[in-house]
Symmetry: C2
């Protein structure tokens, strides 16, 4: 057996156990009775322990070294590269330190839940301080091992190979143009009196609509499900994609776009090449690309005028509604209203990147040691003021709103806006290559777009680095210009 | 670390992975999209492979030997005994032979599904022959290793320590008395014109009733769920018990008793001692005892007059029904009707053991080599004639009806009737110890019964062998007399 074959076998086993864990994670969010969460935690820890041992086994290191000398095709070569990356992350940090992190972040997350409820930053700060100290220690160790910066070492877990310089270059034009763009977009919203019909729609009808839209986009219910959970997500495994949403009878609009967003993620997972389904090279190309697929569907496609001309009659049919408020143009205006607000997850397409820029700046400073936890509320207020022109009334609506930092996830935030930028570039390229795409979407036919995405993105999995993948698909490197042009066109010029 | 401590750690890990697998099995039956079953099979095989490797590890054998010399309390001593039993089963048979069995039974089960549909015994026979040959080979190997008979070696997997002589002694009075009892019970049914109201009841109301009954019995929804599946079962893990049922709007009666049956299983699992939840000694005491808990609830308790006086007003409320047919006595008669029929799973309390006796006889002969697969249909017809007085019109309603043999499970059938006998003995003993039990059940109060079961059965887990457990709980060894007296009292004398 060649070293490469041994690696494939090992990573195949790791993936099978990882898939089992993925279903258990879904179950924990969707099905688990309240009293069973401690037990579930132990089951998941047991599986995690197994895959970690298999992955960090010294023999994997030996096989990786030996495989370098073997003659491999492009996919296998990329597979070895991705295996190496996983091995590096698994082995760089001492086990005891990782265990400390898990314990500390579990505790911090628990404290954060009550702190957010009670607007108690002071009570939460010591936990965040402790957690930040551990994250910085780990970042430093990885940075030295990987030969990158500390923040980059954290980024790499979510968005492999992403460089800070690249993000800074991409975010700089946003930082410059966003305040003006937001101002103009808010003016447009006022001028158009944009709003969505506020009618109570029973959950069953919202579900039926969600499934109709999923099918239209190409979701295969032979290989997936739609369920409910407190926090919508796309989980499961490639041949069993499980997306969730939550329903509000008083406001159908969120579940509708939420389902589309998760379907975008789902189509990516489902479109990954089956032949590589249990190998690292067969995985999605990081969180920024993943978010690009959900945002391409939700924002680029399904907030377009073409989409609403498909959606309007469908809403009429499934919701049994009629009237001017349910016409395509009215829906388009309602779904493209812009408003400054404090909460990231409620933000619209134009203000969202401002929320991300703020967090990106702050977490970089925290990791660098240039921002102390105790100074976070002040820095938050200042950043909100300069980026969005508003200041949150309290910490619950400010620096306590997100789960990321309390969960130990530093370096995740930029992927949201990187994803939005990639989405803009991909959709522009798709339309350029196949100009019929928008017209077909107006007819509810997503196939031409899906076919293009399958070929250019989904089917490539992790064969290429993200920079190469974007360049091969669009002919361009990451470029804020395309994204800004899209925002201007939709929110200012139209 | 003592050898015992090493064993506890190892078996704790095995149990955690086994629990993960239990949830995935539940998911496969309740949630899994059709296209994902192959992938799920691979995930489960991966987990199975891990626990098998951990269990059959030679070091486990060494620790077991060393633990014998350590000073251990009764629970730990029993734990080592149960660990040893698992180790023995895991290591007795060569891996290649076990793999052959899995492959062959998977294939046979698949062929059986279509053979049953098409009433094609001839097409299925070669697969069953091949499978039987493998099962006999394994039984022989285990018999030599364990120093028991071949059929006993198979029994031991389902009902640890059970002896053929014991079953034969317990079944002999049944064989003798059942034909007469069945005849008399059928006459009673005719005389009482016993039948249940045939009214369409919406699934939602049946579900609501099921949950009300589960709660009354003591099921804790903080640690469990009720869902739907094609074949009802009790799955999940002790702090997350997941029972399922299926609903027929035209016939509410089956889901009702089905839910009670599975709740009986669930109460056993949930009542196992938490301190031993991930150790072999903390597991239920075999399939016969498990079935005794479901049958105690379904047959002993919930087909009693007392139960129907609790149920009747509840049905009126939840189903919004009224009239004579919904009175307690009418329901009691309807639920205790007896009829000869071909299908085991549809059989009533009186004819059921006849179906089991037939299968027990036949599978013993097959394992002994005294009955060839090609002679099975004839032997089936003959056995049905002598035990039940009827002959099935075809093999689909005869020897093709059960999944057990096609799945490779020989030695499982007797546990159904052993369970029924144990249930009769336990309920008699419980009522003797606490005569208020039936009266409390008439009020919907299951607590006195549950408390007794928790103390005498559930809380003991696998501390004792099954014979001792029964004796300590009831003061008696296995005794068909109690069971027969129960049947006579309910179906002949009342």
């Amino acid at each position: 057996m060649s070293a490469y074959a041994k690696l494939e076998e090992r990573f195949g086993k790791i993936a099978a156990v990882g898939q089992a864990a993925a279903i258990l994670h879904w179950d924990a969010a969707v099905m688990l009775p309240e009293g069973a969460s401690a037990g579930r935690g132990e089951q998941l820890a047991a599986l995690e322990g197994i895959t970690h041992d298999w992955l960090s086994d010294a023999r994997v290191g030996e096989w990786l070294a030996a495989a370098e000398a073997e003659k491999l095709d492009a996919w296998k070569t990329a597979n070895v590269r991705e295996m190496g990356r996983k091995y590096k992350h698994a082995t760089a940090v001492p086990g005891a330190l990782k265990e400390k992190l898990v314990k500390c972040s579990t505790e911090a997350e628990m404290r954060w839940r009550s702190a957010r409820k009670e607007n108690d930053f002071a009570g939460f700060a010591p936990h965040l301080e402790q957690l930040l100290a551990l994250v910085r220690e780990i970042a430093q160790i990885k940075a030295e091992a990987f030969g990158v910066g500390a923040y980059e070492a954290l980024l790499d877990e979510y968005d492999p190979g992403r460089k800070v310089a690249e993000i800074d270059a991409a975010f700089a034009p946003l930082e410059k143009e966003l305040p003006g763009l937001i101002e103009a977009a808010c003016e447009r919203t006022k001028a158009l009196a944009a709003s969505l019909p506020m009618v109570s729609i029973p959950v069953e009808r919202q579900k039926a609509l969600g499934k109709r839209l999923m099918k239209a986009i190409g979701f295969d219910f032979q290989h997936g499900r739609l369920d409910e959970s407190a926090h919508p997500f796309c989980g499961g495994v490639a041949d069993d994609i499980r997306i969730t949403t939550r329903y509000d009878e008083a406001d159908f609009s969120r579940a509708l776009m939420g389902v589309i967003h998760e379907t975008g993620h789902a189509m990516y997972e489902r479109g990954l090449p089956g032949a590589w389904s249990r190998q690292p090279v067969g995985e999605a190309r990081g969180m920024a690309f993943h978010e690009s697929q959900s945002l391409l569907m939700e924002m680029q496609v399904c907030r377009s005028r073409e989409f609403f001309s498909f959606l309007a009659p469908l809403l009429g049919e499934v919701f049994s509604v009629r009237g001017n408020a349910w016409e395509a143009e009215a829906l388009y205006r309602g779904y493209t209203r812009v408003e400054r607000s404090f909460i990231r997850v409620d933000a619209d397409e134009v203000t969202y990147p401002a929320h991300v820029l703020l967090r990106y700046r702050l977490e970089q400073k925290m990791i660098a040691g240039d921002l102390k936890v105790r100074d976070l509320p002040g820095a938050w207020a200042e950043g909100m003021k300069s980026l969005l022109g508003i200041v949150p009334p309290d910490d619950a609506k400010g620096c306590l709103q997100d789960i990321h930092w309390p969960g130990g996830a530093f370096g995740y935030f930029p992927t949201y806006t990187l994803g939005a930028m990639i989405a803009a570039q991909l959709y522009a390229a798709a339309k350029k290559a196949q100009p019929e795409i928008p017209g077909e979407i107006a007819k509810g036919n997503f196939a031409p777009l899906l076919t293009w995405l399958r070929e250019k993105v989904h089917g490539k999995a992790s064969l290429l680095g993200q920079g190469e993948l974007l360049k091969e698909a669009t002919g361009q490197a990451l470029d804020a210009g395309v994204y800004l042009a899209h925002l201007r066109k939709r929110y200012v010029e139209s």
